[in-house]
């Protein structure tokens, strides 16, 4: 079995305060794993570990075949797509300018950026500054970034937060696209009901420890 993500007894402590403890998890190709848990359970921290943006303080693991903490980690990062609960946008820039930055850095065109924005229903708001848009519009633009640069490993933090019901099919489409390409997805949320229709299996993170079949 090819695991996209494999964590063994991973710990993360910040200033000696444990955030997640002995977390073991695997995500297979074509799989979508949902992780639910209350506020402060360590969901975002776990997602950042999987995104290689936070090094574990204990345990071991690999993401896309590369050992966490190794020198090869930067080489797999372009295959990881993360949409956090705060959209990764520069406020003074317009929505299309935010995507154009991503397009330029990844060798894509203006048309690709415009198409990605149209895909999330924001073609008409392309020229509006991000900090003058609603939270939902900013989150949609974050999704557009992931349509623009499709990842192999998709990580969504609170995928429903701030999005209305019309955006739900976009999230589903993004996950379907990643899975059909042989990738996988990890979704985290405080609300299990929001994940149940999207994930193949659900796990619960409580006080930094993962419960259920990991």
């Amino acid at each position: 079995m090819n695991h996209l993500v494999e964590l063994h007894d991973v710990d993360v402590a910040v200033d000696l305060v444990p955030i997640i403890s002995a977390v073991s998890l695997h995500v297979d190709q074509g799989e979508c794993v949902g992780i639910q848990g209350p506020n402060g359970a360590g969901k975002t921290t776990l997602l950042r570990v999987i995104a290689t943006l936070l090094a574990p303080t204990g345990g071991s693991g690999s993401v896309l075949g590369v050992e966490l903490g190794s020198k090869e980690v930067p080489s797999v990062r372009p295959q990881i797509g993360l949409a956090g609960h705060l959209p990764a946008l520069a406020g003074p820039l317009t929505l299309i300018e935010n995507l154009l930055v991503v397009a330029r850095l990844t060798g894509r065109t203006k048309d690709d950026a415009a198409a990605a924005l149209a895909r999330v229903g924001l073609a008409g708001a392309a020229g509006r500054a991000a900090d003058r848009c609603s939270h939902g519009m900013r989150r949609r633009t974050d999704l557009a970034r992931l349509f623009l640069v499709p990842p192999r490993l998709l990580l969504l933090d609170e995928p429903q937060a701030g999005l209305d019901s019309s955006a739900q099919p976009m999230v589903e489409e993004l996950i379907r696209q990643v899975r059909s390409g042989g990738g996988g997805a990890v979704l985290v949320s405080h609300d299990a009901s929001g994940l149940s229709g999207l994930a193949d299996r659900m796990l619960t993170l409580r006080s930094g420890a993962l419960e259920g079949a990991t």
Partner: protein, 223 residues
Amino acid sequence: MTFWRQVRAITSYELLIERRSGETWSIITPFAAAALMTIPLAIGINLPLISSIGWPIFWSIALLFGMQVAWRHVSGERNAMRDAITLLGVDPAARFTGRVVASGVLLSGFMLVIGVLTVFLYTPDELNRWPWLIVVGLLFAAGLAQLATLASDLTIGLGARSSLAPLLVAPLALPLLIGAAQATDSLLRSAGILPWLLTLVLANLLLAIVGVLTARPLQEAAT
């Protein structure tokens, strides 16, 4: 994507943010201009003294307000955006270079404006070989941009980042300040400026080497 294409993309991204937010031109520059004006007002009608302190005041203002220009992107920088750029696989050294170029361009423009204001307000003693002042200014701007960008990378994740980084930059910028001020003084006295130019070039080279070599370790340390 090549290193220099990434540098170009990061530079234009940083400059576009500045163009939209206008922090340098609509906030920092007017305050620097006000600071330039207060000193002659405080001194009173003592034209020889005002003329003699014109260039030293210019460099002091360039350092103090220039730090704010070079530091402006840090206050607006969002963790999510930094993470997204990291995940796009942008070479940290290219990111460092792109941010330095953007800050250097802004600092050069800022210094040009306050330089013109200094001449207007202080009528400082005339410089011999004044085009060399442009070279000195560009070296000063490049050094300060590198120093501020390096300090911003060093302080990622620290709680007191916005107050700590200027404290790091100010003492380390002293070689730049001394080099620029002494070169200007030498131009006033028609003396040689080579030692001071070399000081500025050396400081820039050292900062460039440290900045590029530490870009990846600092990025990984911040993760």
